[in-house]
């Protein structure tokens, strides 16, 4: 890792962790006043992580798109960027960070424990398709993560609303009806970008490996993930799955995304997505 990358990476991770604690505090201790301050803290952490990415880019000459550490660094950036963007568009959605922040903190910690060393860009990654494929992959991960966060908040809020004295922390969030539609909206966003990601990946694979589809473990999981979210959309649109069922679906379905991004390479060493030249 480059010197300034280390400084900004740790600063970002520390700030995210503090903000994560702050959000959890505001929910557990019914103190919604803390929330806007935590959003500012998240924005500060985002700036730090952006600086870490810039420092790494300066040191290696390419964007951090490959390897577990770079996956998590860039992925965390997209997820928090998406969270801040929707919070900036609609203030009542700032608290979605309560779902996305813990995910990003764990992801970044996991990534750091892998190999964060500076490496030149492998020949297999020198193509414009990398940027298209990985960019849409992260957009879809961001969209699905936001759906999961909206699902978590929906479930918490529904539980709180059923109490005689609801937790005032949830007053800052949209109504459950709106949250439910937001889950669907984020799933749709994730599904569109996921579709583009898979198509772009297939076209790239044809040039790199000679075959557009090879049932590689990561490819197969991406297809499973796409089918699961396709199923979610069908269940919502055709079968009218809403409320708690949809929220649980958004939370559980994210596991397929996490498995495709990180899980497959942990248990299978035959994936071409290790980005080695074979």
């Amino acid at each position: 890792m480059a010197f300034w990358e280390i400084v900004f990476f740790w600063a970002g991770l520390l700030i995210y962790s503090l903000a994560c604690g702050g959000f959890i505090y505001s929910f557990v201790f019914n103190n919604p006043r803390v929330m806007p301050k935590m959003t500012l803290l998240v924005a500060l952490g985002f700036l730090a992580v952006t600086s870490a990415i810039v420092a790494r880019f300066y040191a290696t000459g390419h964007l951090p798109w490959s390897g577990h550490y770079e996956y998590t660094l860039m992925g965390g950036w997209f997820i928090i960027g998406g969270t801040l963007f929707v919070g900036w568009q609609n203030k009542t959605l700032q608290g979605l960070a309560v779902g996305t922040l813990p995910l990003v903190v764990i992801m970044m910690g996991y990534g750091y424990m892998q190999d964060p060393g500076l490496t030149p860009m492998a020949a297999s990654l020198k193509t414009v398709w990398l940027y298209i494929h990985v960019y849409f992959a992260w957009l879809s991960f961001g969209g699905y993560s936001l759906a999961m966060a909206a699902g978590v908040v929906f479930l918490l809020r529904s539980k709180s609303d059923a109490l005689p004295v609801p937790n005032p922390a949830y007053d800052r969030f949209p109504s459950t009806g709106r949250l439910n539609e937001l889950i669907f909206r984020y799933v749709v966003f994730g599904f569109i970008t996921d579709t583009i990601m898979i198509c772009a990946g297939a076209i790239w694979a044809k040039d790199l490996w000679g075959s557009y589809w090879a049932w590689d473990p990561v490819e197969t999981w991406s297809l499973i993930c796409w089918l699961v979210y396709g199923l979610t959309i069908h269940l919502r649109v055709t079968f009218g799955w809403r409320d708690k069922r949809l929220a649980w679906l958004a939370v559980v379905a994210l596991s397929t995304v996490i498995i495709s991004f990180f899980g497959v390479n942990l248990v299978v060493n035959s994936s071409l997505h290790a980005f080695q030249v074979r």
């Binding site: 490496t119 030149p120 860009m121 492998a122 020949a123 297999s124 020198k126 193509t127 398709w129 109504s175 009806g177 709106r178 439910n180 539609e181 937001l182 669907f184 909206r185 749709v188 599904f191 569109i192 579709t195 583009i196 198509c199 297939a202 076209i203 790239w204 044809k206 040039d207 790199l208 490996w209 000679g210 075959s211 557009y212 090879a214 049932w215 590689d216 473990p217 197969t220 999981w221 297809l223 499973i224 089918l227 699961v228 396709g230 199923l231 959309i233 069908h234 269940l235 649109v237 055709t238 079968f239 497959v264 299978v268 035959s270 030249v277 074979r278």
Partner: protein, 489 residues
């Protein structure tokens, strides 16, 4: 929603060309028609089951489960080494799984049946939905109804109009926001993204394009591997393809016809990472092509994809009198940090390669995978007995048992994965249609507005009732914003 042609008492009307209610079975049986009626009823039931959306959900779930099984059970064609090792360790288990097709699950009869049912289900669902889509995109004056009384429009609101804002201006503003508007101030109907349901059909049709492209690809597919060293010419001769992995000839069509010479191979490794490889080819017309990772040589439907790099030393074996015994360009697969063997002049040689040779604590080693000091360590044997060994850098000579093995030249060789497929344009068209259709259907969804300008307490007021696909609460914000804007002075 209109009735499905496959559901209810009139089911089969559109399909079979009769539109009468099904007669009871008993009189038919007496009249001798029982078997046919039963057959028709059963057929309709099967069609109804196969075309249901519940069946779609079941099929998608089963396909997903099958893919997961494929990840857990080592697949014979995909991870051959792991599969063979597993077969050696647990032959009975593997044979049992083989019998059920679980070790070739992606092409097993079970999976192919599921895919078959999936596409059948898709076709039937499309068949049912096309009339619904046509109904949904239809537009006529009959859509203009009373906004205060028409059910199914959850967002209802009144917006007082400022003085001087006429109904025509209002409708023009609505049209400017991509609404197709019918009617006038006394009653109008507006629709945005009216054709969005067509995207549903397109998205599902794209699956058939992918299927068609995939099937053409499978039946016209030629796969082979060929190892070519710098300076070698290749005319597409089948005999020159590697024996292992075996050549796959196309079921339809012929093997690729090509002609080129490998004019140069230049690999580049930085910090142990292969950062580029440039393989220059000169084709039969004298045109030069550069092949690299992500840049295959494409000629017609055939691609030559770079797969592997090896060392190709030029060895000359001479006897003690200096007479040439053998002379060959030997392709050695030594870049995986394992030795390779070759035979010359009745001797067996084992070669270990060090791209950046260094003697480390008395042992041969390589500083990196960069080609800074390419050196071979060669052991010569005859009849299983070692007769000599030596370090052989480029241009050096290895002397053993009175003979000399000279290496005047050190070249590279590349392994090309040669694949020829003819369905790719259709497949890519399917991808493009799928991407565009999913964006169209999910982002540009339909919004409908019913409206009328009416007097409310002496003030001209716009009364509207609106609805949107997918969203209710979020659409409220959108409609509020829209009508606040278009009713502004």
């Amino acid at each position: 929603m209109p009735r499905s042609p496959f559901s209810g008492g009139l089911s089969g009307g559109l399909l079979f060309g009769f539109a009468q209610r099904d007669p009871p079975l008993a009189p038919l049986a007496q009249a001798g028609y029982y078997p046919k009626a039963v057959f028709v009823k059963m057929f309709k039931k099967i069609v109804k089951a196969l075309s249901s959306l519940k069946f779609t959900i079941v099929l998608i779930s089963l396909l997903g489960a099958t893919f997961i099984v494929g990840l857990w059970v080592p697949q014979a064609r995909l991870v051959k080494d792991i599969y063979l090792q597993w077969h050696r360790n647990s032959p009975r288990l593997v044979e049992a799984l083989d019998a059920f097709g679980l070790t070739t699950i992606y092409s097993s009869p079970l999976t192919l049946t599921l895919w078959g049912l999936f596409f059948l289900n898709l076709a039937l669902v499309l068949w049912q939905r096309v009339p619904v889509v046509r109904h949904r995109i239809a537009i006529s004056d009959a859509k203009i109804t009373d906004p205060e009384r028409t059910p199914g429009y959850p967002f209802q609101a009144c917006f007082p109009l400022p003085e001087g804002l006429g109904a025509e201006t209002l409708l023009a503003r609505l049209r400017k926001r991509r609404y197709r508007v019918l009617g006038n101030g006394t009653g109008f109907y507006g629709v945005q993204n009216r054709l969005a349901p067509v995207a549903f059909v397109l998205f599902h049709v794209s699956f058939y394009l992918v299927l068609l492209g995939g099937m053409i690809t499978v039946y016209t597919e030629f796969i082979g591997y060929v190892d070519l060293a710098q300076g070698e010419n290749f005319q597409g001769e089948l005999a020159r393809y590697n024996v292992k992995p075996a050549l796959q000839l196309p079921a339809i069509g012929s093997p690729p016809r090509v002609s080129f010479t490998v004019s140069s191979i230049e690999p580049q490794v930085v910090m142990n990472t292969p950062t580029s490889i440039a393989v220059k080819l000169l084709d039969g017309q004298g045109e030069s092509h550069e092949v690299g990772i992500n840049r295959p040589y494409k000629t017609g439907p055939t691609s030559f994809v770079f797969k592997h790099l090896g060392m190709a030393p030029h060895f000359v074996l001479k006897d003690p009198a200096g007479k040439e015994l053998d002379n060959a360009l030997v392709k050695l697969d030594v870049l995986r940090r394992a030795p390779d063997k070759f035979d010359m002049g009745g001797y067996n040689f084992t070669a270990t390669f060090y791209p950046d040779y260094v003697l480390e604590k008395g042992k041969n080693a390589t500083r990196s995978m960069e080609f800074n000091n390419p050196t071979f360590f060669i052991v010569a044997e005859r009849d299983g007995k070692k007769v000599g060994e030596a370090l052989v850098p480029k241009n050096a000579t290895f002397e053993f048992a009175g003979n000399r093995l000279e290496m005047p030249e050190l070249r590279y060789w590349v392994r090309f994965y040669v694949i020829s497929q003819r369905g790719l344009p259709i497949l890519y068209l399917g991808f493009a249609v799928a991407c565009l259709a999913v964006i169209w259907r999910m982002i540009f969804y339909k919004r409908e507005v019913l409206g009328a300008v009416r007097e409310r307490e002496g003030v001209p007021t716009l009364v509207v009732a609106c609805r949107s696909e997918y969203y209710k609460n979020l659409a409220e914000d959108e409609f509020n914003k829209l009508f606040t804007k278009i009713t502004a002075a």
